[in-house]
């Protein structure tokens, strides 16, 4: 009775509804725990050995499911465009508080290190965990640090636009070159010898595409972060 008084009926009914849904789903799930079967991934793992790429996830993301990644880049591109459209045309705000000296200097010192780390994660994506997405976002977080600490810092808009244009066009063009040479969209037309595995330049087009993805993701993310931070503040 006390429960009824403290909780409104909407909360109780929401609780009951979602609880009923989840209990049903859970019961159905636990009755048939999936068996160990041959999945596409096992076959992909053995195919991966021929590509000269150590990180199988990279091969899957960039090569076997390359079109998903292209679509994903398109999603990011449209989202950044939409966010720019929503927030961009307002007057730029100036962060009023003067950042303290330590933050100012620390950000300046940290930015190159963060960028370097991002580039490392990006270019070693085919050998170790990481890759384009992660590296791109790490670089964008470096940009974020500068945006917060330096009040008049701004990545030039045209620079971002050119980077993302270059990356997007290059991705599709590499795909089309693969289509022309090997009759496979995004075909691996560069030499990719297994004996080279472990080197930076192994794996044919795979590291190149992942770096392109990194450039694209980094520029989109920087654009998103910048339009969110610099949004006019006169609400």
């Amino acid at each position: 009775m006390s429960l009824k008084r403290t909780l409104p009926t909407s909360v109780l009914s929401g609780f009951a509804l979602s609880g009923a849904f989840i209990l049903t789903v859970l019961q159905l799930l636990l009755q048939n725990v999936p068996k160990d079967i041959d999945r596409a991934g096992d076959a992909l793992l053995s195919l991966n050995a021929n590509e000269g790429v150590a990180n199988a996830v990279t091969t899957v993301v960039v090569y076997f499911r390359g079109f998903d990644t292209l679509g994903e880049i398109a999603v990011l591109f449209i989202a950044a465009l939409g966010i720019g459209l929503m927030l961009g045309e307002n007057e730029r705000c100036v962060i009023k508080a003067q950042s303290n000296f330590m933050l100012h200097t620390g950000a300046k010192l940290l930015f190159p290190i963060i960028t370097l780390y991002g580039v490392y994660v990006m270019s070693y994506g085919h050998l170790s965990p990481g890759g384009g997405f992660q590296g791109g976002v790490i670089i964008a977080s470096g940009v974020l640090l500068l945006l917060i600490s330096h009040r008049d810092f701004e990545v030039p808009h045209s620079f971002i636009v050119w980077l993302e244009t270059f990356a997007g066009v290059a991705y599709v063009l590499i795909g089309l070159i693969g289509l022309l040479t090997l009759d496979i969209f995004l075909g691996n037309f560069l030499p990719h010898d297994v004996s080279q595995m472990g080197l930076l330049l192994s794996g044919g087009i795979i590291p190149i595409i992942y770096i392109i993805v990194g450039i694209k993701v980094g520029s989109e993310m920087s654009a998103i972060v910048q339009s969110l931070i610099k949004r006019g503040d006169n609400v």
């Binding site: 789903v25 159905l28 799930l29 009755q31 048939n32 999936p34 079967i37 041959d38 999945r39 596409a40 991934g41 076959a43 992909l44 195919l47 090569y63 076997f64 499911r65 390359g66 079109f67 998903d68 292209l70 679509g71 994903e72 398109a74 999603v75 591109f77 449209i78 989202a79 465009l81 939409g82 459209l85 929503m86 045309e89 636009v161 050119w162 993302e164 244009t165 990356a167 997007g168 066009v169 991705y171 599709v172 063009l173 795909g175 089309l176 289509l179 009759d183 496979i184 969209f185 995004l186 075909g187």
Partner: protein, 483 residues
């Protein structure tokens, strides 16, 4: 080769816009229109060439993503490129008087929408379908709140939240499919789906129904649709009702036919569709806003298509394809005409039609409305007739009665509208329509009349497409090669 171009070219255009911008202020607009016209030309040559055209494009052949271009997907691709080209043509003259802000962004979004809709139709990999589902969704959210008025933003937010929830359920279904079947290829999943335990099958089907149900605007999940139509600009609505919904409908039933070839849930889906149609038409009766009214009419027509597809036999699918084409073209005419009216009278109230002083607009709108109603000699008739016929043949008399009641309700408000349009009130000034816009309207209404007058000219092709859509074995065989 060519099927990849349908997706890659619009994407490439979207990414390359800043380069194109260097060629002048109008370059983006014109190049985009040319590109869409080229895609339309490509689709038409493929259509007129070999009628049973099958093409499979693979990325990383044995296990990667494949695209299947057969006569059914070609039909949808042609429809989408046709609509988008006419939209761009219309916009070319619309922009002279009332251009959008940031036209380049607008055109990027249009092309992304086109690429995603075509990708949804062509793709044969369920995770790839999810990605295109999201691209189409995001560009639609931004397009609907493009004008940044409070109602536009509200429409966009509602669209986005429902879309995000829908994609959650879709991801859940995909996760379960991969866990239980170990594949993402539609053909391989279709082969294995029979062998699943009933519980798993039920769970996956329900999750897919919830995920796609939001997008195909089916009854309990379509509460957001009308607000989105009202909030978005009238011009963009034409795309929502003639391209986006149609792509989702096709994908949904493509998946249903592949996974459940014996039609386990067919009866349920038929009743769901008929119920949605009835509810939409009843709600549409008391609307006074033109956009809202046509949104309800759109819901009703989509539910009719849903019912027809749900019957899962060749004749019903052929009928559904007829309605898909007729409804796309007719709603396109209606929303473009409403754009002209809105530009002139600045209001979407239903009584404003009384002041409409333009014989041309009244004529094309009448043609479109008669076609939507399914009057003989117009394109809508043959589809509706075939649906009712196959319902009667299959013995769904109750559904037949429901649909006839819903159609009668629909006719009530269409005749009310026609009455307003041809009433002898004092008219406003004569509405001027640009030559290019007139051309677009004439092309569209001519195609409506053509389908209405000589339906037998198209029925063979549509019948063949319908066979392709329901024929699982050949689809699976083509995709996995008898493995």
């Amino acid at each position: 080769m060519s099927s990849i171009l349908f997706i890659a070219l619009p994407l490439l255009f979207g990414f390359a816009t800043p380069i194109l911008n260097k060629f002048g202020k109008n370059a983006v607009v014109y190049i985009s229109t040319y590109m869409q016209a080229f895609l339309l030309y490509l689709a038409f040559t493929l259509l007129s060439g070999n009628s049973s055209h099958i093409e499979i494009i693979s990325i990383a052949p044995p296990l990667g993503i494949s695209f299947v271009l057969n006569s059914i997907s070609l039909l949808f691709v042609t429809l989408f490129t046709f609509m988008m080209t006419l939209f761009s043509l219309y916009y070319l003259s619309h922009r002279k008087t009332k251009p959008y802000k940031n036209e380049t962004k607008f055109f990027i979004l249009l092309n992304m929408l086109l690429a995603a809709s075509i990708g949804l139709v062509l793709s044969s990999d369920i995770f790839n379908i999810y990605v295109f589902f999201e691209i189409a969704g995001i560009s639609a959210y931004i397009l609907s709140s493009y004008e940044k008025t409070p109602s536009a933003l509200e429409a966009g937010l509602k669209y986005l939240i429902t879309g995000a929830v829908a994609s959650l359920f879709l991801v859940f279904a995909i996760v379960l499919i991969y866990m239980n079947l170990g594949s993402l290829n539609l053909a391989l999943i279709a082969q294995g789906f029979e062998t699943l335990a009933f519980n798993t099958k039920l769970l996956i089907s329900v999750l897919l129904l919830i995920g796609f149900g939001f997008k195909v605007e089916i009854f309990p999940l379509n509460f957001w649709v009308v607000d989105v139509y009202e909030g978005s600009s009238t011009l963009v609505n034409s795309l929502f009702s003639s391209i986006v919904v149609k792509a989702y409908l096709f994908v949904f039933f493509h998946i249903v036919y592949l996974f459940l070839p014996s039609g386990e849930f067919s009866v349920f889906l038929i009743y769901l569709g008929a119920l949605s149609m009835l509810v939409a038409e009843i709600a549409g009766l008391r609307q006074t806003n033109l956009k809202r009214l046509f949104a309800y009419s759109s819901l009703g027509q989509v539910a009719l298509i849903f019912t027809a597809f749900a019957m899962q036999n060749v004749d019903a699918i052929q009928a559904a394809l007829f309605i898909v084409i007729a409804h796309s073209i007719a709603k396109f005419i209606i929303f473009l005409a409403l754009t002209n009216i809105e530009k002139e009278y600045k209001s979407m109230d239903i009584t404003r039609l009384k002041e409409l002083n333009s014989p041309f607009l009244r004529a094309v709108m009448l043609i479109a409305m008669l076609s939507l109603l399914g009057i003989p000699l117009f394109a809508g008739f043959i589809g509706k007739f075939l649906v009712l016929k196959s319902l009667a043949v299959s013995g769904f008399i109750g559904v037949l009665v429901l649909i006839i009641i819903a159609s009668l309700l629909e006719s009530v408000y269409y005749f009310k509208l026609a009455g307003f349009m041809f009433s002898k009130c004092e008219k406003g000034e004569v509405l001027k329509i640009d030559f290019v816009q007139k051309l677009v309207f004439i092309i569209l209404s001519f195609s409506l009349l053509l389908i209405g007058l000589v339906p037998f000219f198209f029925s063979d092709f549509l019948h063949e497409s319908a066979t392709f859509m329901i024929d699982n074995t050949s689809y699976i065989l083509n995709l996995v090669g008898g493995r």
